[in-house]
Subunit: 237 residues, 2 copies
């Protein structure tokens, strides 16, 4: 059993993207030329390219050919809580936040459970769409209890980060618990993130605790799969 | 601006699944009954259910209705390298590994780069499909250099774990560097994992180092999105 040809070609093309043989923003050679180079059929080339398109390394452009995408944004599991703006800046990109909604509502059963709230509790619902260089990166929906945080809905979260605001109120988040899933984007989320419905996304649930152990933040963050990746290091024990 | 009705219903149904009101393996109430309960139209109910299906909490069964799926497998970012069998056992499931391929080949440019090998280096290519309770969970393709590991292709990796085998050779992996992406499953991978092509998957690249710093393992692991999630805790610094 040998490795299928399309996989070998996929790996070769990937290496050429990684080592800069095909630079970011460039158009790669035509299918017919790649087929000649690798001595395979065009469907085999197409299969290899499709995988790299799925992985966000290449992008098909009508009338132009196949483009090498800008690198994905490296998000680090550095075991520290970095702000979104810091992460994006570390990638040499410009960050921006649009506030899509900020209002109070009765906590739904899910939010009640997460924040340990009584039945009739009011919560803030803050929805932010965050960009890097004007490309949507992540849609974040956060729930916070109203009682200990009066007037939170008066804050301009396009300019002020949520974590900084909580610190100013002496209620800074000191530890977070995260759960990561992968989910196909539903039509509304896909429209916000400017991807096709059904595109794979990272789906994080976050519970943020303040130093006395109270859970003050419940957030759902959905990252585009095609412009983000996460790295981490693990030492064996 | 209030929260869309389908989202409130989605969250309510999610809470009922989490708290056991709708137990694992049970059929949830019919669309028409849920529509009556929430005083909304059936398309609104369908939209809420579609999200939970996408997230792997519910599953549509022909002629039977909508089923509450078995919980996803909790994979921990515990900052330790746990074996697959340990992870699955910790979830109270039975693990099994099928070896789909094990042979030597010339390193592709991608593998050469990852393992820091010269042009003509030979590598092992080990492909394993791993199950929990007879359901495919992850497809792992591992590359290892042939030179320091003679006869590795004679090992029965259905019974022996790769990391244990390396330890027996005094070449145990002591630290790993991982990169996580989300990728839509290509048709071949989808067939192995028994999901629909295009289903979202976790896509890990792993570089495993031995204690002297040599990279001895390059692996690509693709986890099904519908039966896995990852949890981790971060303390703020």
């Amino acid at each position: 059993m040998t490795q299928p040809k399309y996989q070998v070609i996929e790996q070769t093309l990937r290496a050429r993207i990684t080592d800069g043989t095909y630079p970011e923003g460039s158009i790669i050679p035509k299918e017919v030329d790649l087929a000649a180079e690798f001595a395979v059929s065009r469907p085999t080339i197409r299969q290899a390219i499709r995988i790299l398109v799925n992985q966000g390394l290449l992008e098909r452009k009508q009338h132009r050919g196949t483009l090498v995408r800008q690198s994905k944004i490296a998000q680090q599991f550095t075991h520290v809580i970095q702000s979104y703006n810091q992460e994006i800046a570390a990638n040499g990109r410009c960050s921006r936040t649009d506030v899509l909604g900020l209002y109070t509502q009765l906590a739904t059963p899910e939010v009640q459970q997460a924040l340990h709230l009584p039945d009739d509790a009011q919560v803030y619902r803050l929805v932010r769409l965050r960009f890097a260089d004007d490309e949507p990166v992540v849609l974040v929906t956060s729930y916070l209890p109203v009682t200990p945080l009066p007037g939170l809905d008066q804050v301009d979260f396009a300019r002020q980060s949520l974590y900084t605001e909580l610190e100013h109120r002496h209620l800074g988040i000191t530890s977070v618990n995260r759960k990561l899933e992968v989910v196909a984007a539903d039509p509304d989320t896909a429209a916000s993130l400017q991807v096709a419905p059904g595109s794979p996304t990272f789906y994080f649930h976050t519970l943020g605790q303040v130093s006395d152990g109270r859970v003050l933040e419940y957030s759902i963050a959905q990252y585009r799969g095609d412009n983000n990746y996460f790295t981490f290091n693990i030492a064996r024990t």
